[in-house]
Symmetry: C2
Subunit: 248 residues, 2 copies
């Protein structure tokens, strides 16, 4: 039974893509068949692993998903690349109810052979993210330890609850991940405290520290595990992976 | 003749809102009648200045914009608050051509008494941002000195060029602003060099350094000028303001 993680947060730049790439890289290295799905028109997950975005979005083009899936440097880690094609993304983004349902089926059918599927979403609570949520078993929300991040959480929770209450939804909370953690800063510790008080157990114990090598890795088309396996960023994502696996 | 700046970049978390709040605060302090327009459903510009988002989006509710405009702690700085109301934002976001045009007219009519208007946009190139671009005289693009930021620029440029070529557009490039600048990092200097080589003169001389006080200020509902006037962040935004004014 695949675990399908939707990596979502409407707040921008909180580490969704960095988490999608590096957590899937850790899961692959741990021996699990892992698929990373790039649902963001920015295609950062695609280029961050060293691939080019596709001309047509594989979820729109009427083709078997498997024909678009590529294998990364780690044979256990596969990628369904995204596309910047405006018309396709617009079609996806203006998702009408039946269309979302098709997308959802398409994702579920094309990914059932994987142990883990991670879906990288754009910074929005619109139809793209909602479709991803409706196709997922768990939602993982990275949040930066800063003021605006706290504000955005409540809005995200509403959207998530709506999907959870809809028919056919298997969605549960996968966890909240504190990112770009700088324990030298008062703001970080304040937000950490507030988030844990409010959300309790669903906050991962492992925070991801600020580590410049996490920002460098994608410019080489590599995950942090390949680029700098001894870095603080690599250690943190490995710890996070352990927490995700323990949960089974 | 108002200068209307659209603060845009589809990449998330690059400092659009931080720039919208602090540049408008500097312009106000320099004596100019300034209006900050919050076009982002996240409403960070609104809460960052200490106000509550509105129940209905003022650009949708059929009312004079002036009835929704509030005055900040600095009497020269006014704010048109945003709204998180999903139906309104969705209407705005699914903008049909005529609707965009109404929005554009609405913005232009309601803001003509200001010297400077700054429009804070969500992380997307969709209809909300396109409407803002079509109502603006200049587009200001903050970019973080990291790999994904470089990637996103080219996509933004396409959208901007499209708007520039459409009828009635007064849009010009206002400038590219390097944000969260950390001159200790190789990645920062690499991206700085690449951006300046590619874009030349339109890149502002002033970069905005990474300064934790810039992230703390919004949690007090204040701009950096009020919260920490002697901080590196305050100095940088003041320098940027000088560059913007010099351009006249
Ligand atoms: N822990 C970290 N330390 C240092 N840099 C980081 C860290 N996590 C992410 N980054 C960098 O911060 C920037 C934003 O991260 P990322 O693109 O993963 O966020 P995102 O939420 O996917 O953004 P968007 O909302 O645009 O999709 C990127 O340049 C990334 O390389
Ligand atoms: N120069 C800086 N130094 C330190 N922190 C900063 C700086 N600029 C912005 N920040 C912080 O980084 C985070 C992202 O900035 P901001 O919200 O302004 O980006 P944005 O582009 O508006 O994001 P979004 O795409 O979600 O609208 C915020 O928590 C902000 O307070
Ligand atoms: Mg991303
Ligand atoms: Mg913003």
């Amino acid at each position: 039974m695949s675990r399908v993680f939707c990596i979502a947060n409407q707040k921008g730049g909180v580490g969704k893509t960095t988490t999608a790439i590096n957590l899937s890289s850790c899961l692959a290295r741990a021996g699990f068949q892992t698929l990373l799905v790039d649902l963001d028109p920015q295609c950062n997950a695609t280029t961050g692993l060293g691939f080019d975005p596709l001309q047509r979005h594989p979820l729109i083009a009427n083709d078997e998903l498997t024909n678009s899936i590529v294998v990364s440097a780690d044979p256990n880690l596969h990628l369904l690349p995204g596309s910047r094609s405006f018309t396709d993304v617009d079609k996806l983004a203006r998702g009408e109810a039946s269309h979302c349902d098709t997308l959802r089926q398409h994702i579920l059918n094309g990914t059932s052979c994987y142990d883990y599927v991670l879906i990288d979403c754009p910074p929005s609570t619109g139809p793209l993210t909602q479709t991803a949520l409706s196709a997922s078993t768990e939602v993982l929300m990275p949040i930066q330890c800063e003021y605006f991040a706290m504000e955005g959480l409540t809005q995200m929770i509403h959207v998530i609850r709506d999907v959870m209450q809809s028919e056919n939804s298997k969605l549960e909370f996968g966890g909240i991940l504190l990112t770009m953690y700088d324990d030298q800063l008062e703001l970080t510790t304040e937000v950490d405290k507030e988030v844990r008080e409010f959300f309790g157990e669903i906050v991962f114990d492992t925070p991801i520290p600020r580590d410049p090598q996490l920002a460098e890795a994608p410019s080489h088309g590599e995950s942090i595990i390949q680029y700098a396996p001894r870095s603080r960023g690599a250690h943190a994502y490995t710890e996070l992976c352990m927490e995700v696996l323990d949960y089974e």
